[in-house]
Amino acid sequence: MNDTTLLQIEDLHFRYDSNQAWIFEHLSAAIPGGEITAILGPNGVGKTTLLHILIGLLPVQTGSVRLVGRSLDSYTRGEMSRLVGLVPQLERIPFPFTVSEYVAMGRAPHISLLGTPTQEDQYRVDQVLGLLNLQTLRQRSVQELSGGESQLVRVARAMVQEPQILLLDEPTAHLDLGNKYRVLEVLRSLLDDRTTVIFTTHDPDAAFAIAGQALLMHRSAALAFGPVEKVLDGKNLSRAYGLPIEVRRVDGRFIVMRKDQDS
């Protein structure tokens, strides 16, 4: 483990039931701090499960996960929630909270069990909403937002949490092209205050756009981990998805496409 490693995953195994096959096994990666890491892989390979382990929602069964040099188990709930934030893929919010009320819930790790948000917390909420250009939505109901707005509001909720590591589960899924790049731009801007971003995605384009590192998972193990251009090459992607895939570089940008059958 070198100095920049923030999250060290070693030989991690996980399964939901001892009678079932492993969701993943022998998973290792040293994720550096202050960078963006993308996790890719086919459906069912355990990307969301991995995020759930990283926030402590699921236990480390075999292997080890060390966060800032300490074993994940040694963190209290409070410490974890001030260190790691999560934006799940889908979120059902059953009551019409206003955007401001919803984002303020992100302050919970900084508020005691019996406390309520203070003016300072509200100031942080307004600041983050301003940063993401969402001020005009402050009093709107979260149930009335468009897909893109909703995703940004959820990112805002995780940002006011002020975590060192922000985990996002498929942050660009179901978004149109404009909103996809808006969300990615916001994630990239998080690097300015040294937040480490880890996100899962099915879209190599999103990984190329903002990530420095990529973890490619395949058949219950890590296929490759390292700089995004090296990990997401034609050979690895073809193996992961079981299709002939090529990655072309055009004007410094990477384009992923299926290889023509006849070429």
Partner: protein, 330 residues
């Protein structure tokens, strides 16, 4: 919502509750229907006794009942993430009824009736919870609803059996009136019996009101924000149900308050429980006291409170549902 508007609403509701409480001490059938002149309180010994030992304990209990049902309703709606849930949900009401009927039949003291109602309300909650955990299909809320229906039906059948065994002249009317809900027999002693359960439960719910917002979110989000969703939900559920069961043991089944008042409060204060929970407590107090005023003054005989709350609650619910804004779900 603007701070000024919220403050104005709270002040208005607080003053209304206080006024309703104080004025209701003069509402009843003595010395004539509906209103007792205030000067009688100083002049007429019977009037003074009536207010101090009959109407005041009844008002205190009505206030506690309204506050508890509304607060527990709001808590349950939030933690089950379903606006159609109410405190009697999950076998709580039917369990309490069964416990009370059992006590009326075989034990008879007022303490035992409170104790048995609370015990069986908790048993209903526990049984529903365990059953929902064991079911092998459907989402968590669906399983809870189904388990609640089954447990309620079983307790209902049990109460039915007890009714057939009850003495038709003494015990059966007591069980029947208890089922309809009412505050006619409340004494200061009842208020004292209820307080040790109601106050801690209500205090807990009030103090954790902002936390409730978090618990209405998905588990993974709540967890990532530092909450322990299962443990905190159980704690709030236990506090709310203990308070509700203790009041049900005195007042019987009083429906609709816990369903309709949280909706009304959400309409006024928005979805944030930090404000709508205290709002629901104030509104619940006002609503229940007013219903009880009608119950004891409208006719020569007492109208059971549960009938009035269902009548008024049901019509208010219809009004709320048809005037609800498009897109906005309660």
């Amino acid at each position: 919502m603007r701070l000024d508007r919220r403050r104005l609403l709270f002040t208005t509701l607080g003053v209304t509750l206080l006024a309703t409480f104080l004025l209701s001490a003069f509402v009843g059938r003595y010395p004539r229907p509906f209103w007792m002149p205030m000067r009688l309180f100083g002049e007429d010994e019977l009037a003074r006794q009536l207010v101090l030992s009959l109407r005041l304990p009844r008002l205190c209990l009505g206030l506690l009942l309204g506050i508890t049902l509304s607060a527990t309703g709001a808590v349950m709606q939030m933690i089950f993430r379903n606006p159609l849930v109410e405190p009697g949900f999950l076998g709580v009401s039917q369990g309490a009824t069964f416990g009370a009927a059992l006590s009326i039949l075989w034990i008879g003291s007022s303490w035992s009736m409170h104790g048995m109602a609370i015990l069986f309300a908790m048993a209903g909650l526990f049984a529903s919870y365990i059953l929902a955990q064991r079911m092998r299909f459907g989402g968590w809320v669906l399983r809870l609803v189904l388990a609640g229906i089954v447990v309620s039906a079983l307790f209902s059948a049990g109460t039915g059996i007890l009714k057939t065994m009850a003495d038709p002249l003494t015990q059966l009317p007591e069980i029947t009136f208890w089922l309809l809900g009412g505050l006619w027999s409340v004494t200061w002693q009842d208020v004292l019996h209820v307080l040790p359960f109601a106050l801690p439960g209500l205090t807990l719910v009030y103090l954790l009101r902002w936390r409730l917002n978090l618990l209405s979110l998905d588990d993974e989000t709540a967890w990532s924000l530092g909450a322990a969703p299962a443990r905190e939900r159980s704690l709030l559920l236990f506090g709310g149900v203990a308070a509700t069961a203790s009041l049900t043991s005195v007042a019987g089944i009083v429906g609709w308050v816990g369903l309709i008042i949280p909706h009304l409060s959400r309409r006024l204060f928005g979805a944030d429980s930090r404000y709508n929970l205290p709002g629901a407590m104030l509104l619940g107090g006002i609503f229940t006291i007013l219903c009880d005023d009608i119950a004891r003054s409208l006719m020569a005989g007492e109208i059971p409170l549960g009938i009035l709350t269902s009548l008024l609650g049901g019509t208010t619910f219809i009004a709320l549902m048809v005037t609800i804004k498009r897109k906005q779900r309660p």
